[in-house]
Amino acid sequence: MTKKEALYNFVLRLGDDSLVLGQRLSELCGHGPILEEDIALTNISLDLIGQATLLLEYAGTLIPENKSNDELAFLRLEKEYVNVLLVEQPNGHFGDTIMRQFLFDAFRKPLFEALQFSTDEKLASIAEKALKETKYHLKHSSEWVIRLGDGTEESRTKIQVSLNTLYRYAHELFFTDESDEFLRQEGIISELSVIKEQWDKTTKEVFNRATISLPENNWKFEGGRVGRHSEHMGFLLADLQYMQRTYPNMEW
């Protein structure tokens, strides 16, 4: 494996996570539970799509075919997307949406904090930029988890079920393979176990305050990182790719 190949795998995974979660949140445009949250969730979506634009642009330069970010975003087959299963899960009710966001933000913040010091300059500059927004997203999602958990009997019951369902997908955020190992040895990325420690700390603190608890059934789902997706992914891609598939090379 060459450095470029390993870096491509890594950057593509980051980019696909941002792209797919950005797409999911954009579905809420005009459908948010209240106007303020409609605006908040779509603003977060915009940030994520902005991250995806930069990450996929960079990824495209790392392969011999030299693909554009649009080609990567719109013209791959389902099994070629390498996002985690968590981000493709349906929006569900607001508790599901916010819990998915929280589990993701709590991972992305320490990840970008570490990556801004990467020896790969391009990756470091994207991380530095994305970190500022991610901190804000985490604040927003963690406050909502607490408000719902420490809220009414109904909101607490619902957010606990959201956690029970989504926690099974969270483990895949810490998936590593030989690409990650290669990049770690090169000093391009840091040890993921350090990020995991921070994630555990943040989630534990927020769940304590929210008076909800980790599920006992600790079944783990994974597969997205290697292109094996849940049944929801095809529908998401149909929506995402519709314009480019119907009108090839269309531009705004």
């Binding site: 605006i39 908040a40 530095e128 927004e133």
Partner: protein, 162 residues
């Protein structure tokens, strides 16, 4: 005709952010440098937020501003590092924002601290500090939505971004 770099900066002061039309791109701090290399003018700009949808419009506006002033040999470069911060907003820009009805960025503690005490965001109209946050996200990515408990006016707050 060779124009001085100062002249270019003056022209850029007349290019406005499409979403906050009282601020010029210079006030906002998104023009990072203007240089001349081999007779070509290089203007480096940086996005405020990563997915800022105004960036393309801003680039086009700068282009047409330079062209209407007979500057044709130029190049607009978008750079993301170092990342934009509200510290780069000019004092003049902050004054204009307040006049326009948007509270300029206040000094905020590090955002990475969860559960920090909420900061005081004064009302741009009556200056009261008795205000409340309505939503962390406002009409654009760079703003939050507040309401004044004193004069009851809703207003936008230009978030501190560091």
């Amino acid at each position: 005709m060779v124009k001085s770099l100062n002249h270019i900066w003056n022209l850029l002061e007349d290019v406005y952010d499409p979403e906050v039309p009282v601020l010029s791109v210079v006030d906002l701090g998104i023009v990072r440098s203007v240089e001349r290399i081999d007779k070509v003018i290089h203007v480096t700009i940086t996005p405020t937020y990563i997915g800022c949808p105004a960036m393309q419009t801003i680039e086009k506006d700068i282009e047409s501003k330079l062209k209407t002033h007979q500057i044709v040999d130029f190049n607009i470069i978008t750079s993301i590092s170092p990342a934009w911060t509200t510290d780069w907003m000019s004092e003049e820009g902050k004054r204009k924002l307040k006049e326009y009805g948007i509270t300029p960025p206040q000094d905020e503690p590090d955002k990475s601290i969860l559960f920090a005490e909420p900061i005081i965001v004064p009302c741009p109209r009556c200056d009261s500090s008795n205000t409340k946050m309505v939503s962390r996200f406002g009409s654009t990515a760079c703003k939050a939505h507040y309401q004044c408990n004193q004069c009851l006016e809703p207003f936008d707050y230009f978030k501190c971004f560091k």
